[in-house]
Amino acid sequence: MEIKKELPEIFESFAEARRNGFIAAKNFKEQNKPMVGTFCTFMPQELPLAMGAAVVSLCATSDETIGEAERDLPRNLCPLIKSSYGFGKTDKCPYFYFSDLVVGETTCDGKKKMYEYMGEFKPVHVMQLPNSPVGTDSLTLWKNEIVRLKEVLEQQFDVTITEAQLKHAINLKNRERQALKNFYALGKLNPPAISGADLLKVLYGSTFKFDREASIEEINALTAKITAEYEAGKQLESKPRILITGCPIGGVTEKVVKAIEENGGMVVFYENCMGAKHVEDLVDESESDLYLALAEKYLKIGCSCMSPNPHRFELLNRVVDEYAVDGVVDVLLQACHTYAVETLAVKRFINGEKGIPYMSVETDYSTADIGQLNTRMAAFVEML
């Protein structure tokens, strides 16, 4: 496969920040290294990393391209899916544009059907994700799909991925996870060391880094710096502590975090796909079957596409205590059925078993509901 190195025609019309994104991606590609784009956290990043590729997240977070996407996709579809598809179609996202291959999984209905159309203008490989994390059949299927991804990568990019390379990549990803975990564990501090908005910025930013070693160092340095400053007395005011769960957020949906933090609360933990969901568990490096180790790790991601979905509740159960959470906010993107249906179970669990308040909020990629979000979040915080 020919690696893409040219800028898109539309490039000239972009604002500076986006141009810089394109230039950075282009410079990376000039080194003759491939770029692999992903949507969901189920994609075993270790495989593309093992062959020296950059792995970038393509989940879009603005409504800029939703109109374009709605020419192909129904209006009543999750904004994340529409926006991501739209960015891909319009060459407006540097990472999508420079991705030589996009890897999706059969997660939610909207996404897996969207990939069928995306395949018309981009090389797309879809992994068959089982619906259930339970049982050996699921595990075997998923392990086979990971082996299949390896073969696809080898074939498309004309490389061989050796066990040694993969082992190295597993270790790299584990170190990255550990760095992220140490970073977001700052959220345990009370009085707080860092605001939820800043936490999110770092977590979100880490999904676009080409050089993982450098990224790990950056995160570790940041954690050390914040810890040192905290010990030297730089502490924030104690406020009701909020955990965010639900659909992925970032970009425009930071409005939820803002609404919480401008109205007297503090976000101390992100359980969703921008946060801990895929970071908490490491790949077992003592397992000799690397593909089995990968399959086991990734199948434990507590995504609402899974039925049953015990891992989401296991994680919530633990972190509500560890982070001394006072209230849980479940963020739903409009038309996300799996997360919407799961709100009842989460509410029961949080109100019942954990004995703390819970609130779900539905939002989209517009800014029209900021007033409503403010009232809801302020009232929620007043209640704590």
Binding site: N351, P357, G371, Q372, T375, R376, A378, A379, E382, M383
Partner: protein, 258 residues
């Protein structure tokens, strides 16, 4: 020790003056398109004659940010909870639930036995199920909302199938064309809105008695409809429209003594 509570809603702005025991004054004015000016007027009206005393002011509602003199802003959810517990107690009711049908949204608030909020739901995405819905239809029927109960008296509610304000408007045109009486149509609208509100409220575990607030609480017909549909006793109060403002004043009073 006086406190002022002002609730700046989408349709009306309400204010009360409270001295820690009794409500000394209240005022209600249409918000129209200038919430800020109206709020200032309400504030000055309440303050009149008390300018020498120390007064603590709490604002709530959509326009809660708009009064420069406010000491504190609290959401309408919390204020409605507090206000309802207070008004409910004056009529001997043990309030566990507040249902508020406002001009632009509706909300359900759960209270514990101390009047603290334990959970809430808010519908603010569209006009369906809000006071605006009733207003629009009454305007279409060329009737005054203030005489709602008299207007629907003695009629059987027709079935209204659309809860979207826009679609319901055309449905009403159709019904009028079929010579259905206006009273029966309005009754049907009240029935539909009560259905919707009750189903919305039932998403929360309802306990004890329900306090009904907001503009529509003036209607005995709606109160009765809600009671039937919820299976809980629903009480209201002549000052129910002031629930949010009273709650704000009560919160101000608690703050001052802390």
């Amino acid at each position: 020790m006086l406190t002022i509570g002002i609730d700046s809603g989408s349709t009306t702005t309400k204010g009360v003056l409270y001295d820690g025991h009794t409500l000394l004054k209240q005022i209600l004015v249409p918000t129209s398109h200038k919430p800020k000016v109206v709020m200032q007027e309400v504030y000055e009206h309440l303050l009149h004659g008390h300018a020498e005393e120390s007064v603590y002011t709490v604002t709530t509602g959509y326009g809660r940010e708009l009064l420069p003199a406010a000491h504190k802003k609290v959401t309408e959810i919390t204020c409605h909870g507090k206000g309802a517990a207070y008004l409910g107690a004056t009529v001997g009711a043990d309030i566990g639930v507040v249902i508020d049908i406002g001009g632009q949204d509706s909300k359900v608030v759960l209270l514990d036995t101390y009047g603290n909020i334990t959970d809430f739901l808010m519908n603010d995405k569209c006009a369906a199920g809000t006071g605006r819905f009733v207003e629009v239809i009454m305007r279409q029927l060329k009737e005054d909302v203030a005489f709602l109960d008299q207007y629907v008296a003695g009629s059987l509610p027709v079935k209204i199938s659309s809860m979207c304000t826009v679609f319901a408007e055309s449905e009403v045109i159709g019904l009028l064309a079929d010579n259905v009486r206006g009273g029966a149509i309005a009754h049907g609208i009240l029935n539909a809105i009560s259905d919707r509100t009750a189903n919305f409220a039932k998403k929360l575990p309802l306990e004890r008695e329900v306090f009904f607030s907001g503009g529509l609480a003036q209607s005995e017909v709606v109160r009765k409809l809600l009671e039937d549909k919820l299976g809980h006793r629903v009480v209201t109060h002549p000052l129910a429209q002031f629930t949010g403002a009273i709650g704000a004043a009560l919160i101000g009073h608690q703050k001052k003594w802390r």
